[in-house]
């Protein structure tokens, strides 16, 4: 048994303990995800499972594991000796009957995590040895940990975990003190602490050994209950239902029951469904305001809740249907534009921003959340993800892959005193990816019109929220502000988001709107980034009511088209965020985004919470259509969910 801090010595680990016992006891429960913020004992808890199953080996899946190592490849040494391709030992090969532990799975590349979790939950490992794939059974347990603050897994990945436990830190002082004591004692004398809890671990092992899972009977009503709970909790798909059933059966067996019990079901729901849960679709989202109709005056607060908004709207509609409109043309003195009088507005409230940046290319659409851009790098920097037959001259040789390619021929080649004879055809080169943050440039309208109605407060709040998002994703950010007669670079591209925030706080508002100068300056800055091989993003926050052209006069259509055309051609991704507010909207920002062929968003739409509902509504429509088309139609209404689980369950148990 490996040295470990016994689970019983840690506090608040009851769910983890039950989850471990289910994993060991039931062959149908295979995967567990432990989530929690930094310093809550996720990794330590994960490793304590060896106290419950000392006969199983614990295999670490390190962060920098390679694909070949996970799934197996050609064993160089054996192949050279034998003269034919011999498969190498792989992690998954060793995993059969054992326990795999992977930390920070949200930081693992998709092409590692997905096949890993799939292999374990399907119980089949497909090894690729020199072009031949071999399937073998793999009965193992996978425990993963992650800190959701470092990026979340997609709903699809989450669904792949049978169970999920979230750890937190307690506020209870007595418990906290106990945690310190335990840790100090374990550090000073690990064996002593381990032996102290040996009895309790033995008791758990006995409980698992006594559990008679095949004897546990499941009634029809029980299954109906599960599918009812699932649909009430808005769990999508049926994998969750099966997990609940399997975990409930395992818990019942552990408790010595002959029937799947209700208490066990409650616990199984907690372990299996929380992470699959989606919030219920509530009221349908409001349609975007029409351009002709005067939209409701918005509260200056950042996020009034749904009910307030509805009331506001009613009030507005009753009281002020057609009041004196604001000046028709933004070109001639905008409302609230007070030349010469600059104001520095406070920074509005912060919120979680939605994923607002469009992916740079189709191949990246499936990227996981977290860092935005993952690009293949052509030089020898970045992380190696594999190898290939070289496309041209080889500079970045993948030595191991080369050896692997040469290995089978060693018995027949002329060695000339060499241990390994390598020919040109054997050469392989490395494929690398470079994780890089996006280059984000905020082009901010600081003119008087944005100052009206304290709008700048919300604008600053939104920028703060986007900066926070950028910080999490390690993006580089910069900021350009245009106001009065010119645009200026307030902040050149930097990785220090803190500096950006300081600049944002001090940002003054007031004066006319040299929109084109702002765009032109942004273009200059980002073009350099684009030339350096990055795929930059420009976020333009404006109401689009530009009234100063490049030459200081009024902007002409020709000028506008010149700037917009350059931006369209540049490959810079552009997002126009409309800051317009007020009774009468001109829709200039929307027109601008169309001319730039960029994305268009209302400032309010940036708020993730507010937008999730409408996205979800759109997604579910899409999903339904999509799934109908597929052969394995699980979600359409003609398949009764309960009967589906029943069929799968009996198939597994009998």
């Amino acid at each position: 048994m490996r040295a470990h801090l016994p689970l019983a010595a840690m506090s608040g680990m009851e769910d983890v303990s039950d989850a471990f016992q289910c994993l060991i006891c039931s062959p149908d429960v295979r995967t567990l995800l432990i989530m929690g913020p930094t310093g809550t004992g996720k990794s330590v808890a994960a490793r304590s499972i060896c106290g419950f199953a000392p006969d199983k080996e614990v295999i670490e899946v390190p962060q920098n594991v390679t694909r070949e190592q996970l799934f197996g490849s050609v064993d160089i040494e054996m192949t050279i000796r034998e003269g034919w391709k011999v498969g190498s030992e792989s992690i998954l090969g060793r995993a059969d009957g054992n326990i795999l532990i992977a930390d920070n799975v949200n930081l693992l590349p998709d092409d590692i995590l997905q096949p890993l979790v799939n292999a374990i939950s399907d119980g089949i490992v497909r090894a690729e040895v020199g072009g031949i794939s071999v399937d073998s059974a793999c009965d193992s347990i996978l425990i993963c940990t992650m800190d959701p603050a470092e990026g979340e897994l997609s709903g699809h990945m989450m669904d792949r975990f049978d169970m999920c436990v979230t750890l937190g830190s307690t506020e209870d002082e007595t418990v906290r003190k106990q945690i310190i004591r335990t840790n100090l004692r374990y550090e000073a004398d690990p064996k002593g602490v381990q032996s102290e809890y040996a009895d309790r671990e033995a008791a758990v092992r006995e409980r698992i050994a006594k559990a008679r899972l095949p004897d546990v009977e499941v009634s029809d009503g029980y299954i109906d209950l599960i599918s009812k709970i699932s649909s009430e909790m808005f769990v999508e798909g049926h994998r969750g239902d099966l997990s609940v059933l399997n975990v409930a059966c395992a818990l019942s067996a552990l408790n010595g029951r002959k029937h799947a019990g209700v208490e066990e079901l409650k616990e199984a729901v907690r372990l299996c469904l929380q992470h699959r849960r989606r919030s219920p679709p509530e009221v349908p989202p409001e349609p975007p305001p029409q351009e002709q109709e005067p939209p409701p005056e918005e509260d200056e607060q950042d996020e009034p809740d749904e009910r307030d908004r509805d009331e506001d709207r009613q009030d507005n509609e009753q009281q002020q249907p057609r009041e004196a409109p604001e000046p028709e043309d933004g070109d001639e003195g905008d409302p609230g534009e007070e030349p010469g009088e600059d104001k520095v507005f406070a920074v509005g409230e912060e919120f979680d921003v939605r994923d607002y940046i469009p992916p740079e290319s189709r191949t990246n659409r499936n990227r996981k959340t977290g860092k935005r851009d993952l690009s293949r790098s052509n030089d020898s920097s970045g992380r190696t993800i594999g190898d290939r037959i070289p496309l041209g001259r080889v500079s970045d040789v993948a030595l191991v892959a080369t050896l692997r390619a040469a290995a089978p021929y060693q018995t027949v080649r002329d060695h000339q005193d060499l241990a390994v004879a390598i020919k040109k055809d054997d050469l392989r080169e490395k494929v690398r990816v470079r994780m890089k943050g996006t280059r984000l440039l905020f082009v901010v309208d600081g003119s008087g019109s944005v100052g009206a109605h304290e709008r700048m407060v919300s604008v600053k709040g939104s920028i703060l929220s986007m900066l926070n998002d950028a910080y999490r994703r390690r993006d580089e950010v910069g900021m350009v502000v245009f106001r009065n007669m010119k645009a200026e670079t307030v902040l050149p591209m930097t990785r220090s988001v803190l500096t950006a925030f300081k600049k944002l706080k001090e940002l003054p508002t007031g004066g006319r709107t040299p929109l084109l100068s702002g765009l032109a300056l942004g273009y200059d800055i980002l073009r350099r980034e684009a030339e350096a091989g990055y795929e930059p993003v420009m976020v333009v926050l404006t109401d689009g009511r530009g009234n100063v052209g490049l030459e200081g006069g009024k902007p002409t259509p020709e000028e506008t088209e010149k700037v917009c055309g350059a931006l369209r051609e540049s490959g810079i991704r552009i997002i126009v965020i409309d800051t317009e507010v007020g009774l009468l909207r001109f829709g200039r920002a929307r027109a601008l985004s169309a001319q730039l062929e960029g994305e268009y968003l209302l400032l309010e739409d940036l708020n993730a919470e507010r937008l999730t509902e409408s996205i979800r509504a759109a997604m579910s429509v899409f999903d339904r259509g999509h799934r109908r088309a597929s052969a394995l139609d699980l979600s359409s209404s003609d398949t009764d969910p309960a009967s589906f689980i029943r069929a799968s369950h009996s198939g597994r148990l009998s």
Partner: protein, 344 residues
């Protein structure tokens, strides 16, 4: 010939940095030091001087992973075989500062298949990387904030578990990797993720010395050292030896310090008051306080120790988001601590 190192005790000022480093040598599980500050503030000199001052370690002779002689249970697989066969011999190795250059690749950091061996013999062998060299030593990462994230993740995983697991290129291996992690960063060049910040045990902010007298003293000593390194070092050998003895004694004594309830109370109250995530801050506060007490030749740790080390343990853990300046409200906190201390 070995280059003569500037003596640790001759370094003027930078007391916080020196304290933080020395505390880590007493108990390496405190988790290293992150040094934030400008260039030319003697960061690397101080770290090198510290390594030079520390006593030699007992290691398994010839082990590339620097396996400790006194801890056969955590030795690398090769050493374990040699120890069991009775072939292992004991050797002494000086503490070294292992640097991790910014351009390091994953393979160099974690270790990988020994290509040379594979090509010349056709056989697999593990080639140890920087994490193996760092075992038992000081791992110094200049500008840690500019390092690729995936390299930093590797470092901190090894630092947290004390073991480096390698699963690469057909090599499956693990070896001990316990080191004192010292990172430096200039915050203006970019931030570290909060999750990484939390993994550093202590943090110090340093500035160039402001006091004019001290500044001229720094130059004077530096010139004296450059003129006659041997003689200069000689004149500090007494104070260096004294500090070394203090550290050696404290290392032995700190194991017997058991914090009482009041000390734990203080640590927990501070963390809760500041709303720090997770339990790592509690634990680091107490460990660092114990190290401080043993350096002072005391066999009891007190709440005052916790208060004294809190300025090293907490600043980098305070940030809820990147836009709050991470410096503590020192005045307010001190008052609060005084009140809390009195109430214990």
């Amino acid at each position: 010939m070995k280059r003569i190192c500037y003596p640790f005790t001759a370094i003027v000022g930078q007391d916080e940095m020196k304290d933080a480093l020395v505390l880590n040598t007493v108990n390496p599980s405190i988790g290293g030091v992150l040094i934030r500050g400008e260039k030319g503030t003697a960061k690397s000199t101080t770290v090198r001087a510290l390594a030079d001052l520390l006593p030699e370690r007992d290691v398994v002779e010839g082990c590339p992973c620097g396996c400790s002689w006194n801890d056969p249970d955590s030795a690398c697989p090769d050493c374990r075989v040699r120890i069991e066969a009775g072939e292992a011999r004991r050797a002494s190795a000086p503490m070294t500062v292992v640097e991790l250059p910014l351009s390091s690749t994953e393979d160099r950091v974690a270790g990988t298949l020994d290509i040379e061996h594979a090509i010349t013999t056709g056989k697999k062998k593990f080639e140890p990387g920087i994490l193996a060299k760092a075992n038992g030593n000081i791992l110094y990462v200049d500008e840690v904030n500019l390092l690729d994230d995936h390299i930093v993740d590797l470092l901190l995983d090894a630092a947290a578990m004390g073991v480096n697991y390698i699963e690469r290129e057909g090599v499956s291996y693990s070896h001990p990797s316990r080191f004192i992690l010292v990172g430096t960063m200039n915050p203006e060049e970019g931030d570290l993720r909060p999750q990484l910040l939390d993994r550093f045990g202590l943090m110090v902010d340093i500035k160039g010395e402001q006091d004019e007298k001290k500044r001229s003293e720094i130059i004077r000593r530096r010139l004296a050292f450059e003129r006659d390194p041997e003689g200069f070092s000689q004149s500090y050998s007494g104070s260096n030896a004294e500090l070394r003895d203090r550290i050696v004694e404290a290392r032995a004594a700190v194991r017997d310090i058991i914090p009482d309830d009041r000390t734990l109370d203080m640590a927990v109250k501070i963390s809760l008051h500041l709303g720090v995530d997770g339990h790592r801050s509690d634990l680091t506060l107490v460990k660092t306080a114990c190290a401080r007490a043993s350096l002072d030749h005391r066999d009891k740790v007190t709440p005052e120790d916790v208060v004294a080390v809190s300025k090293l343990v907490l600043p980098h853990r305070m940030r809820k988001n990147p836009f709050q300046d991470s410096s503590l409200d020192v005045g307010g906190l001190e008052n609060w601590m005084k009140e809390t201390l009195a109430g214990l």
